[in-house]
Symmetry: C2
Subunit: 443 residues, 2 copies
């Protein structure tokens, strides 16, 4: 009998908890689901005989030590900033740990201790980061085996609304933390293109997009992620001349989002005076020049040099950016006001579901010819609980947990899923759950 402790039973834990409970009978697992809310934990385990839902406070050291010392393996689905608390206790009590978050410098620094204790701390085994790493490494290995030499790697991922529920002019709904969406990209993006380092400041980010078609799902556009360069060493691509990572949206989104960026509405560093009594129309006007005898719509189109009859203006009108409706938020930043407006309009309906889209583009030389191969994935959510996000984050975490407990993954240390030992069995099983990459050779 093995004890698994899952800390955090939020949205993205649903699929993870179900997988582990389903497998618990065969594998003889006892699963503790620990959450700030006992109610949430209880709902997620649905009275399963092998489950123990508990109220849990990560900052309570006694409880933390007690639960971790009683487990054989700990899965932290907490916000990334909390992982070190879990990790330290895992080292102390010699327990394996799995997370879906980016590995922090603090966790990386534990590598020696983790190895000495013979433990596995597996990080970045969600979707992005996670499935992106594994699917990339698998194709890179394939190309290498054929004798190909990589010269260019581009990779794009997006969380979007599923096509069936895509019924607004932005072709976008929040499927993830809205605050992170509003603040996304607020630092210069850096990447490598044809041997040249390229930097794009935030105010140009949504103007310099690229477009692509993916698996019959139509056209998408990608904007650059903050730092594409660090993946060169992680993927063993130190000699490539092009290295780009980006985020996907439906075509047309970035052009319109750019209006918010250009106006300054995504700024989270200052408070708008009297935001409570202002209307959304006032809020928009606050970023425009003072001019009489001209509407806010006309001023905006003139200021940012776009057509008043364009689809972009339609999207802004649809959102309510010109409405004489009170904002009602006290002492709010521009980003908070924008988020408040967007949340009213871009919320995923309770019966709707989402979609994860990913495409890697591999440029390589083989037999003196330059070749291009894509590897693409689309996962749609099954329903409003089994969202694409929950499936693609939770399933690889669950599979990896099983593989560690079954001694299939055995290499100790602070790990990312970039070694064959990890990505091969995880990707193989992910296919059974509809997480299936399609490779295409581009002519």
């Amino acid at each position: 009998m093995k004890n698994i402790l899952i800390i955090g039973a939020g949205l993205s834990s649903s699929t993870l908890i179900e997988y582990l409970l389903r497998n618990s009978v065969n594998f003889d697992w006892k699963i503790t689901v620990a959450d700030m809310s006992e109610e949430t934990a209880r709902l997620k385990v649905n009275n399963h005989e092998n489950a123990r839902p508990i109220k849990f406070d990560i900052l309570d050291e006694t409880q933390r030590n007690h639960e971790i010392s009683n487990a054989d393996m700990v899965i932290s689905m907490l916000p990334a900033i909390m992982h070190p608390l879990v990790a330290k206790a895992c080292v102390k009590y010699r327990k394996h740990m799995v997370t879906a978050s980016y590995v922090s410098e603090e966790i990386k620094a534990m590598d020696k201790d983790v190895k000495e204790a013979g433990l596995i701390f597996l990080n970045e085994i969600g979707v992005d980061p996670g499935i992106d790493h594994m699917s990339t490494m698998q194709v890179l290995e394939e190309i290498k085996t054929q004798g190909g030499v990589m010269h260019s790697f581009k990779s794009y991922t997006g969380g979007l609304v599923a096509p069936k529920y895509d019924n607004n002019p932005w072709n976008y709904k929040f499927t993830w933390n809205p605050r992170n969406v509003v603040l996304a990209g607020q630092a210069a993006a850096k990447f490598l293109f044809e041997g040249k380092y390229k930097y794009v400041p935030y105010h140009k980010l949504f103007e310099r997009t690229v477009r692509m078609n993916i698996l019959g799902y139509g056209e998408f556009e990608g904007y650059f992620n903050r730092d594409s360069l660090k993946y060169r060493s992680i993927y063993g691509l130190n000699d490539v001349r092009t290295m780009v990572r980006g985020t996907l949206r439906r075509t047309g989104f970035c052009r319109s989002w750019n209006i918010f960026v250009q106006l300054g509405m995504t700024d989270d560093t200052y408070i708008i005076e009297d935001s409570e009594n202002m209307t959304y129309r006032d809020f928009t006007n606050t970023y425009l020049k003072y001019e009489e005898d001209i509407t806010v719509e006309e001023k905006l189109a003139k200021y940012l040099n776009f057509n008043e009859e364009s689809h972009t203006m339609y999207k802004l009108r649809w959102l309510g950016l010109f409405e004489n409706q009170k904002i009602g938020l006290r002492r709010a930043t521009p980003a908070q006001i924008l988020q408040h407006l967007l949340e009213k309009k871009l919320q995923l309906d309770s019966d709707a579901t989402d979609m994860i889209v990913m495409q890697h583009q591999f440029g390589y030389n083989l037999d003196n010819k330059s070749k291009l191969k894509t590897s693409s994935l689309v996962v749609e959510g099954r329903d409003s609980v089994h969202t694409a996000m929950s499936i693609t984050v939770g399933t690889p975490v669950a599979i990896a947990t099983k593989l560690i407990l079954s001694n299939v993954i055995t290499t100790p240390g602070v790990q990312l899923p970039v070694s064959k030992e990890i990505y091969e069995p995880v990707l193989a099983e992910l296919k059974l759950y509809g997480v299936n990459f399609i490779e295409e050779q581009v002519k």
Copy 2:
């Protein structure tokens, strides 16, 4: 015999030290000039009999307490961040203090203690802040006395090269800390215009300038300062409908500076990869799209939509932005690289001097008519030591010091020079030193 302690003998202290030494015989003052470099302190006092130049370390508590306890009055010309160290010792040993810096929250919080000790801590008595406050308050008092009611206040200040030495296409040379010039404006500007709050993000700041002619010195342009609103309460202008403060440059400067902002070259938050071996041309190219068969100049003009034959392009060429010359700076940020390039070309020649330009614009109602009055100042430096900056910062500090020691300024507390007791005698004496505002009634 009174002891005056001046801490900091840098560039802007020259005029201050000379003024006090010149008056020291009549007033029976002994003046200690304390600087990190004894050499600097010694050069500044020129063997004057009443001067005592010393090597001084503000972080040495023993020395700090010793010197401050022996003084009757302390002038801190240190970087603003150091003032609290001085202020605490001044409270402890009951000494007056004068600075030319913005008053910090920490110093403001000492008001009660300062008052109880019967001390005067006078801040913001340089040029900007300083002369701007005093000259504004004087005209406001005048308008009020006539029965006028203010509705609009705008104020602009700039430190520029004197016309005689203005011989480059930017019409600009560094007369102040170059790093501050490169980083200037990197936060949203906020102001009030015709009753509406207006916010301008950094990437729009240098596009939304206003132009004005000042005292026969030709045309200038102003860009908005970060926060114009806080001066409403300080100046007693809570009911005005327009409140704007800005920084002056020669016309055409902002349009060209905006190219750096648009590219992202003023960013100080990340390191450019391999900056050491890059050329300035590479650096420029790093912000442009990858395109073959087109020059960096052509790409830039296309990307930012300006004419390749424009004066802006000439200014950029003149600076060396397209030169195949190595940068040679290790692990440098974009802002550091840009500063390095600018410093080579925009340095004030050793025999050249600078100019301070200021204009306040007062809009008010009087006898049922709307009136506009300007109050303007231009001060040119006398020579490379007696720069306009040194004169306009040092002289009001020196005069205020004299007035405190002579019991003309007597109101205790943490003060700004906005009361008649301070601004009236200081402005009167400043006229003798060529700091003379010209009022004009605009038709």
